[in-house]
Subunit: 135 residues, 2 copies
DNA sequence: ATAATTGCAAACACTTTGCACCTGT
DNA sequence: ACAGGTGCAAAGTGTTTGCAATTAT
């Protein structure tokens, strides 16, 4: 059903090397010295996204989508915090968040989909940096 | 600084008439009998988004962005739950969510940005409907 | 008067697709 | 051998922009 090709392997390895970072298609093509056509990058990425190996974000600003290696499946159970400043993604396994999810389901009658939800904000590091800059 | 024009008034009124719904630019142009150019729709929308009167979503699928009337400012303090099935948006003022935000800030060192965060899931109504369908 | 807004069409950026060729199994 | 993948260039989307004419203040 699915062949494992040089191109896909290279691409996945490239993403996997920086599990903290997100990459736009442009970055993948120009940044990582991959030898594969643009269309192939798109096809491979959507392939990985379907598989659940890679997560795709469509952040409000800046035109294109960004992709990030997340490994398999295990991201279904926890929440993701994305820093609006540095763009890093934090995988958060937290009972308080779990409690909130349960509360929303039981009290508000809304079944939360953790996979499709990302909590946005500013991480400690960026927060400190901006405080120092502002004074 | 800002003129109030017939076009913007019409557009805002159109969105305001269905505060529960989201509209794509296509829907706005073809659906609501507005007489204004496409570019003007885009410009007006991004104007309203900057003002905070309208919220813009870029959901993973289906190409374009969708827009929804949210009124002014008051959405900064509460969370939004969006139903992945019917697309409705629920404004949720909830202490448990507030507690979670505080927890994330204090324990995880991550300052949550409620305005930019949307919790995705399935609302009670759609959940019931799909249960009935599945059996 | 003058600064902002409109409309159109052209320009853009990102993504998808058709088709012939190539590759993994 | 054959299903699936690749590359290129062309075609699609959705969105933005240049510019002259128009409108709100």
């Amino acid at each position: 059903m699915k062949y494992s090709t040089r191109q896909r392997a290279e691409l996945l390895e490239y993403l996997k090397a920086n599990p903290d970072r997100c990459f736009s298609v442009r970055e993948i093509i120009s940044g990582g010295g991959l030898s594969m056509g643009e269309a192939t990058v798109y096809r491979a990425l959507s392939h990985f996204v379907d598989e659940g190996t890679v997560k795709k974000y469509v952040s409000g600003e800046g035109g294109g989508a960004i992709y990030q290696y997340v490994g398999h499946g295990e991201c279904e159970s926890h929440f993701h915090l994305r820093c609006l400043s540095c763009g890093r993604l934090f995988h958060t396994e937290c009972s308080v968040i779990g409690d909130m999810v349960r509360h929303i389901e039981e009290e508000h009658g809304f079944r939360v989909d953790a996979v499709h939800t990302t909590i946005y904000g500013v991480c400690a590091e960026c927060d400190r940096r901006s405080r120092e800059a502002d004074g």
